[in-house]
Symmetry: C2
Subunit: 320 residues, 2 copies
């Protein structure tokens, strides 16, 4: 068991409230009066979740977007956020961060409600925490990772792999044509989760989460949480033209897309009978869903390419 | 204007939701369905808010207690918290922190609902963020800093100055008798806010906040938020026997108590007619309130000692 897994197992022994969902989900669901509130808290750390030279406005965007992505995956509409901000004397950095924060809060319609500014000692990596609150639609269950059944179809919304290549480009490990380069870097720095899409899909799914660490690892986690085996068809993973231009379209390229992190799109399961409802709901939001696999009795993840099972890549995604 | 003041002014321009209370209060108040939720988020950073050698269980306690203190000051009963935890490879530290977290969550009856574990790069100061949620009593206004009127009496609950001396002792700047030493260090490391007391007082106050940065500076802030002048009678500031044993009881000692931070007790105002109700409410919680001053038209803070105004100390408290 990794250090984090052991730590979370110990935390789980403390977090016994049903609202905590056993710390096995992307968010907590608290009953307040007659209403439900979805709560998520994601932090980002310089040098770990963003690069020291990322523009500060994009750091703010990413902080808000990663939290909104969790709300979207729980079918919740954002209703507020609170921020912990490490205040340094770099006024230009602070000002640019605030511009990005305002832009993100407006874009995702998530009011800033409060938070805390703190000093960090010299030499510490900047560390930001955000908590985001959202409201699900009345009478719609808040999707978890645990609700899938054998026979359910696995769907993803767009966006697999682009952010990972964007990060590679920023690290100087990949090249790309200028137009593709901008799109791929934007995918890394400015994730575009859609609460509208999450809210529209929630009534029709059996399980839903966001893809943040890589499609393969996140699907494996969803299947494990539902006590099922997952099968994914690599050929069906949706790739952008920028991705194909830059990395290609073959088995290696597809494995790379499906094991890259930072996608912040939706991964969902539903019985085959829900297909028409899902596609109609996505279309109402101007989105397209892609059928990438299915769930079965058993456990583990099987990856198919050209109809045949293939060996998994050394890493299924980002493990932290 | 300090860097933090300028930053918060800029944040305020973003945080325009009424729930944010203009970022001028200790907490946000969000309407959810027919209910209200009080939200606060306080972070603590190694070397800034706690000492690198503080026992990890007390770091966890302090993180929870400082947030619960804000809920208490808003008359809210804790209903949940989420944690950002910087996970390092120091298993003994992590385990001790979790023991303190569990102890604090049980003591303050605040369920842990979720959060995030993050890696920090080598050499970064540990930085923890907690968001705490609370529910006020139905039909009781959530006290703000802005509601006081001229003529209102200023009250504090116990605990002024002890934590500041505890910090001094830990820094090797003060000595104390062994029994006093333990009590004063415990005041610094294990603040004891009381949501029961905050909930009991809330119906009777015109304004309420917690004392976290120093009684003088916090009273000055409350008065400023209410557009009033404050007068404080130093002789009336309640000092513990441990404080008196260690520092004394004279003007300098009293100024030191009233400008030390980390008290996490309650500072409240109410019209003179509320005295009996306040004292009865406190007594029901086994607490005693101390009448330390009053509010008047005007602005600024006047400090009285032996009935005469005295010059303010160089620092009224912790400014951050």
């Amino acid at each position: 068991m990794s250090g984090e897994a052991a730590f979370i197992a110990a935390l789980r022994a403390i977090a016994t409230s049903p609202a905590a969902r056993g710390l096995a989900d992307d968010a907590a669901v608290l009953e307040i009066g007659g209403s439900r509130l979805v709560l998520t808290m994601d932090a980002i750390v310089e040098g770990v979740h963003f690069l020291p030279h990322d523009p500060p406005d994009t750091v703010a965007w990413k902080l808000v977007a990663t939290n909104v992505s969790d709300l979207a995956a729980k079918g919740a509409r954002p209703c507020g956020c609170l921020l912990t901000y490490p205040l340094a004397d770099d006024t230009a950095w602070n000002t640019a961060f605030l511009a990005g924060l305002q832009q993100a809060c407006e874009h995702f319609v998530i009011p800033l409600l409060g938070g805390d500014t703190v000093r960090q000692p010299e030499g510490s990596a900047r560390s930001f925490a955000l908590v985001a609150l959202g409201e699900p639609e009345p009478n719609v269950a808040v999707p978890s990772r645990t609700g899938a059944s054998a026979g359910d179809i696995v769907w993803v919304s767009n966006g697999i792999g682009d952010a990972g290549i964007g990060l590679s480009i920023l690290r100087g490990e990949s090249g790309a044509r200028p137009a593709d380069r901008d799109a791929l870097i934007a995918a890394y720095r400015r994730p575009q989760p859609s609460p509208d899409l999450g809210v529209a899909l929630a009534p029709h799914v059996s399980a839903m989460m966001d893809v943040s660490d890589g499609l393969l690892i996140d699907l494996k986690r969803l299947a494990a949480a539902s006590n099922l085996a997952a099968l994914i068809d690599l050929d069906a993973v949706p790739l952008s033209q920028a991705f194909v231009d830059t990395v290609g379209n073959d088995r290696e390229a597809r494995l790379r897309a499906a094991s890259a992190g930072d996608d912040y799109c939706l991964l969902l399961t539903a019985p085959p009978t829900a297909q028409a409802s899902l596609e109609a709901a996505a279309a109402r939001c101007g989105a397209t869903l892609h059928r990438v696999g299915k769930l079965a009795e058993g456990h583990g993840l099987t990856i198919l390419f050209a109809g045949e099972p293939i060996a998994p890549p050394p890493s299924l995604g980002f493990e932290h």
